[in-house]
Structures are given as structure tokens and as C-alpha cells.
């Protein structure tokens, strides 16, 4: 029941003549919703929906060309007994672990070198970035030739030119040789990202700290250990996380060079998921393999979150 009488309203708020639009835009809630909607929309449509769909598919027996029904954990159960899948998990972890460690060791070393006063410094830095700029598939094809069983340049130089070996190296034909070859290719590609990011971090460290350390008579190892390392730690954590994520989800290098061979020894979870899901048509199973990557990725992200939270490093203080 409402009694609307004009005079009453006028009596209460005589001056306010704002239109509904102006009032709407003054409302904080509306503004929050209005400003967030586009971003949320993009996230929902392009991130949440595909992710949700992927997770849903992992619990169905969908094939390409046929809708699936919910089958619970059946895909995961079947993967649990699948040696090819566990081989892929092993190699993904190995590939990520070894490649990331090498990328960081070499990248940090490169960054420290580039941080010195070198002639043609900016040109050198640009060159360093090249492997990262080249499209992955292109460098993959280059490595495919380099690792070729018959036409490898490495074998050619070692055997035909230098005579150091009497047979061509079978880079991609035996499991471990193929695994290390791919790690090498990934490291080659990944170093620039690490080096340039760490170089940026190095340049934020004030030179006066080093001067002070020098005056105190610190050795170069001590300067690295006590100044460079702690001050670089925050950016190191971020770069490390990204690097782990990129490496863990790598697809192109492996797919272009070995397609997971020989005999599945170099399948990454991503390549196996694709092979089973798209050419194999078993979308549900492919999705299940992809979903199995999520726990690993969450671990990596959590690591970065907690590493980042320890900001006191930045000031050279202790952690709590």
C-alpha cells in the first residue's frame, strides 16, 4: 500500500533534481558492477568457460563427433593403469625440472655477464633475445634438422669433418638421447627469457650497495651471496614460476620434433592429451590428461605466491 503525494516528496528533498542516470552513476555498487563486467565477461568467456568445459569433459566419455555422458572418475581410473600416461607424467616432470634448473643456472650467469660493462651492450642484449623471439615451431624445425638421424649437422661435423666419431649420432632414436635432446632445445629457447628478466632485476640493485661492500672488503662471492642473491630473489621467484609454467605446458617443441616418440618416451602430458583428444578422437580422455596437469600447476603457482609474499628479502632483512 502506498500513498504517493507529490508535495510530500518535494517537502523532503526540495533541491535534488538529479536524473535517474546521474543517480545511477553515483551508486557505488553500480559502478563496481559496470566496471567489472567487461573484464569479468572476458575472463568468464575465454578462461572460466573453457577451463570449466575442459574439466567437465574429463569426467565424460565424449568423443569427437559424439556427445558424452558423465562417467565420474572412469577416465582417471583408466589413466591410472596406463603406462603411457605415467611415462608422460614422468617425462613432463623431468623435462620441467631439468630444463628449468639449466635455464636458471645459465640464464643467471648470462644476466650477470650482461650486467657488466661490455662493449656493444645493447646490441648483445638484443641478440640474446633472438631465440625467444623466433616462433617456437620455426626453432623446433631447425632443431629437428639438427637432430636428424641422417642429416644432422652435429653428426656431420663430428664424423665427416673432424673424424671424432665413426657413426652418426642417433639423437632422437633412443629414449634418453631423445629426452636430453628436447631438454637442450627447450633450454636454448628459454634462456633469453630468464636472462633478460633477471638482468632487469639486477639493474634495480643500487650500485652504492656494491660500493659499500667493496669498502668493507667483501669478496665477489660475498657480494653475490649477500647483496645480489637476496635482492634478486623476488624477481627470481616470479620468473621461476613463469618458466616452470611455460615448460610444464610445453607442446610445440615436442610435437614438432618427436611427436612423443620414440615409443612414447618423450610424450609430455600436453602432447599426449592432444594426441588422444584430437587425432585419437577421445576428447574425454584427452581432457582428463590435461586436467591431471592442474595439480602440478597449482603447486607451482602456490610456490610463487609464498615466495613473493616474503617481501622482506627485498630490504635485505630476514624472513620473520
Amino acid at each position: 500500500m502506498s500513498v504517493t503525494t507529490g508535495p510530500v516528496t518535494n517537502w523532503r528533498r526540495p533541491q535534488v533534481q538529479q536524473g535517474w542516470l546521474a543517480r545511477l552513476f553515483d551508486s557505488k555498487i553500480f559502478l563496481i558492477i559496470a566496471c567489472l563486467t567487461p573484464a569479468m565477461g572476458l575472463l568468464v568467456v575465454f578462461l572460466t568457460y573453457p577451463l570449466g568445459l575442459g574439466i567437465w569433459l574429463a569426467f565424460t566419455d565424449t568423443h569427437i563427433g559424439r556427445d558424452g555422458v558423465f562417467i565420474g572418475f572412469e577416465n582417471f581410473e583408466s589413466l591410472w593403469y596406463d603406462r603411457v600416461f605415467w611415462g608422460a607424467v614422468f617425462y613432463t616432470v623431468f623435462y620441467t625440472g631439468v630444463a628449468t634448473a639449466l635455464k636458471f643456472a645459465l640464464g643467471l650467469w648470462l644476466a650477470l655477464l650482461l650486467n657488466e660493462n661490455l662493449p656493444f651492450k645493447s646490441l648483445l642484449r638484443a641478440i640474446i633475445l633472438l631465440p625467444w623471439i623466433v616462433p617456437t615451431v620455426l626453432s623446433a624445425i631447425a632443431f629437428w634438422w639438427i637432430f636428424d638421424a641422417q642429416f644432422s649437422i652435429i653428426s656431420y661435423v663430428l664424423v665427416d669433418k673432424l673424424g671424432l666419431l665413426d657413426h652418426y649420432i642417433d639423437f632422437l632414436g633412443t629414449p634418453w638421447a631423445a629426452r636430453w635432446s628436447l631438454v637442450f632445445a627447450n633450454v636454448w629457447r628459454g634462456i633469453p627469457f630468464v636472462a633478460i628478466s633477471l638482468l632487469a632485476g639486477l639493474q634495480t640493485i643500487s650500485p652504492s650497495l656494491y660500493e659499500a661492500a667493496l669498502l668493507d672488503g667483501a669478496s665477489s662471492w660475498q657480494r653475490f651471496r649477500r647483496i645480489t642473491a637476496p635482492l634478486l630473489m623476488p624477481i627470481l621467484a616470479v620468473v621461476l614460476t613463469f618458466s616452470v609454467l611455460f615448460t610444464f605446458t610445453d607442446f610445440q617443441l615436442v610435437y614438432a620434433i618427436t611427436r612423443g616418440g620414440p615409443i612414447n618416451s618423450t610424450h609430455l602430458m600436453a602432447t599426449l592429451a592432444f594426441q588422444r583428444g584430437i587425432p585419437g578422437g577421445q576428447l574425454g580422455e584427452g581432457a582428463a590428461i590435461a586436467v591431471s596437469m592442474i595439480p602440478f600447476l597449482i603447486l607451482a603457482t602456490l610456490f610463487s605466491y609464498f615466495a613473493l609474499a616474503r617481501r622482506k628479502w627485498q630490504q635485505g632483512g630476514d624472513d620473520e
Binding site: 603411457v84 641422417q150 642417433d170 632422437l172 585419437g280 578422437g281
Partner: protein, 442 residues
């Protein structure tokens, strides 16, 4: 994407050029044609068509296909758009069209696809019967893949198949003491051993190679009497025949050039062109690319082609990649779609395409065995009988999603790769393959 209305003239020009170079007129005359009335398929007014097919492997495949399509447009007024999809994209794109009921009306698909979407494609029985009657009947493999499993109902029109017989260097084989390639397994092994001794090893892809890996390993399996599943689709790979095949592959592997475990689809072509390979297995395209390049013409001259050793009962046991055209029920112009396919399969259009491709897509209809393409160069005659093969991917079971998945997961290839290289014993390899095949055939 290619709009034929605008570029029709251009395509016709290219087609005329191709037809001019290859004596298509004479070729056509040679093909025996029965006098049969085509089925009545009045084209709907205002019909337009979208066609999807795999991308070309040899140039003429695209130019002549387009020219034939333009001719269809000219004669019927039906606008046709032909899209070419990458070989690995074709299957997912067919799936999307089947599921959404939109997109192409006609797909020149891979062999299995019409069977996976059997309830979504138009019946082709009348058309296939007509073509069969007119052109001397369908060959064995096209019959297998054209008809719905276990019935006489046609759901697809096979358009051509690419086979992989043995390709070898004539002079090197002679040097090894063989005037012709032995047709039995033991002799074949001896020939490879002799080639290896002379430094001209054999080489077959044992890596995850869609075409060559499956071609070689399926031949090994079938030619020894093995099968992945039985007629009912029950996994039957763990058999004495398969074990024999695995043991044979182990011995044959000793005669290979190093590195075949990592070989993809192009490695054998490269190694053969470089003169490092004495014997391999390939489609006819390699021979033509060698022949057309002055640098390698001498290798082509010295190249012989022959059947791989036969299966029990003297049957050819080579893997064939088949083009299998389908028309979706969702098309608004079913008659136009069928007419288009009929038009493309008629001798006036089909023979120039067959000849232009150099026999790369071997004919599915018997009469085309008389085509000029098989006579121009007697060497490639071995490709003529490509489609007479009675084995298929997923032999001896129904053509299904599962057979496609087993092939895509390289179950058979990896079984042979593991046993041949000695990474597992034949018994272990076959058990692993059995386990993996069962995951799909459940």
C-alpha cells in the same frame, strides 16, 4: 577459401592447360564405360554447395579438382565453394560439421569418418550402384569403406586411395644379387640383408608417423596373418601370427639405416633422395618429385617399385589411405550434393584428375585401370591395384571410432618399434599393445 564464381575462368584455364599437357582425350577413350542411365537427381533451384577436402599433396590435385568443380558450376549453375583443410585438421573439421549440422555439405573425408557419422550422412546406394555398373564395379577396399558395416547400404563414395608399395634402387638390388624383389618374407629379408652388407640399407619409419609408420607396421601385421581385432571387434592382437610378425620385424630391423625409430613421414623420402637408402615404402609422389628434379632424375631412373611381400593366400597387404566422400543429411541441397559427386566421378572429370595426380590417388572403380596414367610410365603400374587390398585400418573388425583411436595412438606402430629395436621382447610388446587396444575397444 576460394570463390569459384570469381576465379572460375582462371581455374578452367589451369585445367585446360593440365589437360593439354596430359593427353586426357586419348586416355578417356580407353576407359571402358557401360551404358547406364544416371540416377535422376534433379538439382534444387538456387542450390549452392560447400565442399571440404584435404589439402593437395601434388599441385595438380588442387588445380584439376578446382577446374572440375568450375566445370560443374558452368554446366549446372550451382555455385560451389571448395575449402582445403590440412590433413590433420580434416578429421576435427568433419566432426564439427557433423555435430553442429552446419558448414560443408560435402566432405571428401578420410576413410573412417563416414562410418563414425553414419546416421548423419546421405544414402549413396543409388549413386554408387550406378557408378559401379558404369565403370566395371567398385574395387575391394572402396566396397569395404563405401558400405555401412555389414550391409549393402552405401554411405560414402570412395574417391581414391594412396598406397605404399616397396620402392627400391634397381641397380643396388641387382648388385646384391636380386633381379627382382622377392615376394616372400624370407626372400625380402635376404634382399635387405644383402643391401645392408653393400652399404645401401633399407629404412622404414618406426616413429610416430601417421602415414609411413602405419603403412609399414600394418603391412608387417597383416602380411603375417595378424589382426588387431576379430570380426566382432574383440581384441585379437595377441596371437602367434603377431608374434611371428614381431620376430620378423626384429630381424628386418637389423638391416635398417640407423635412426628409423625417430622417423616421421618425410624422413624416408629425404634419405632416399640423398641416396642413403636402398629400399623403403612410399606413395607414388616421391617417385615423381625425384623424376621432376634434374638433380635426382638419375635416382628416379634407377628406382623400381614392387609389391611388399604378400599375406597368406597371396593377398596384397599394404595400408591404403582412402579419400571417402560423404554428403551430410543437413545439406539443404541433397540432390545437388550427389550430382556434384557424380559429376566428379564421371570419366570426363575423374580421369584428368587421376592422370594429373600421377596416380597418387589411385582409382576406386575398376574401369580406370585402363587409364593412361598407368600406361604412361610402366614403373608406376604397381600403384594401379592399390584399392584391391582387402585389409583396412582396424582389420578385421568394424570400422569405428575405436579403430581410428588405436591408429591415432600408434598402438601397432609402437608395438613393432618396441620389439624391432629390442626395447621389449615380442611377448611384452604384444601384451602392451593388447592392453592399449582394449582401452579403446571396450
Amino acid at each position: 577459401m576460394y570463390d569459384l564464381t570469381r576465379r572460375g575462368a582462371l581455374s578452367i584455364g589451369a585445367g585446360a592447360l593440365a589437360a593439354g599437357m596430359l593427353p586426357a582425350g586419348r586416355a578417356r577413350a580407353a576407359i571402358p564405360v557401360a551404358n547406364v542411365q544416371p540416377p535422376r537427381q534433379p538439382i534444387e533451384s538456387g542450390a549452392t554447395l560447400r565442399v571440404l577436402r584435404p589439402t593437395k599433396f601434388v599441385d595438380a590435385d588442387e588445380t584439376i579438382f578446382r577446374a572440375n568443380t568450375a566445370k560443374f558450376t558452368q554446366q549446372t549453375g550451382v555455385q560451389v565453394r571448395v575449402d582445403f583443410a590440412g590433413w590433420e585438421d580434416l578429421r576435427p573439421q568433419t566432426a564439427v560439421a557433423a555435430n553442429t549440422g552446419a558448414g560443408p555439405d560435402v566432405v571428401v573425408a578420410w576413410a573412417d569418418d563416414p562410418h563414425i557419422y553414419a546416421d548423419k550422412v546421405l544414402d549413396m546406394t543409388e549413386l554408387a550402384t550406378y557408378l559401379g555398373q558404369k565403370y566395371g564395379g567398385w574395387l575391394a577396399l572402396p566396397q569395404r569403406f563405401g558400405k555401412k558395416w555389414g550391409t549393402d547400404q552405401w554411405i560414402a563414395l570412395p574417391m581414391g586411395g594412396s598406397g605404399g608399395p616397396c620402392v627400391y634402387r634397381i641397380s643396388w638390388l641387382k648388385e646384391a644379387g636380386f633381379d627382382s624383389l622377392p615376394t616372400d618374407h624370407a626372400g625380402f629379408l635376404r634382399a635387405c640383408q644383402a643391401l645392408k652388407k653393400n652399404g645401401h640399407p633399407a629404412g622404414f619409419a618406426l616413429g610416430n608417423a601417421v602415414g609411413d609408420g602405419n603403412a609399414f607396421c600394418n603391412w608387417l601385421l597383416w602380411s603375417h596373418g595378424g589382426m588387431v581385432v576379430d570380426e566382432a571387434g574383440k581384441v585379437a592382437i595377441n596371437s602367434p601370427e603377431t608374434l611371428n610378425a614381431l620376430k620378423y620385424s626384429k630381424e628386418l630391423y637389423q638391416t635398417f639405416i640407423p635412426g628409423t625409430l625417430s622417423w616421421g613421414d618425410v624422413n624416408n623420402n629425404r634419405a632416399y633422395a640423398a641416396g642413403e637408402l636402398g629400399l623403403t615404402q612410399n606413395g607414388v609422389s616421391m617417385y615423381f618429385s625425384l623424376k621432376n628434379d634434374p638433380k635426382t632424375a638419375a635416382i628416379a631412373e634407377d628406382t623400381g617399385m614392387a609389391r611388399m611381400p604378400l599375406a597368406p593366400g597371396g593377398k596384397m597387404a599394404e595400408n591404403v589411405l582412402l579419400l571417402n566422400a560423404l554428403a551430410f543429411k543437413h545439406t539443404r541441397f541433397p540432390n545437388a550434393a550427389k550430382e556434384y559427386l557424380r559429376f566428379m566421378m564421371e570419366v570426363e572429370q575423374y580421369d584428368p584428375w587421376l592422370v594429373g595426380c600421377g596416380g597418387y590417388w589411385a582409382h576406386p572403380l575398376a574401369a580406370f585401370a585402363e587409364s593412361e596414367v598407368w600406361k604412361n610410365d610402366p614403373k608406376i603400374a604397381v600403384y594401379r591395384d592399390t584399392n584391391t587390398v582387402e585389409f583396412w585400418s582396424g582389420y578385421k573388425g568394424p570400422i569405428s571410432q575405436a579403430s581410428g583411436s588405436v591408429a591415432a595412438d600408434y598402438v601397432v606402430v609402437q608395438m613393432f618399434a618396441a620389439a624391432a629395436s629390442g626395447q621389449s621382447t615380442p611377448e611384452e610388446a604384444v601384451r602392451e599393445a593388447e592392453r592399449r587396444a582394449r582401452r579403446y575397444y571396450r
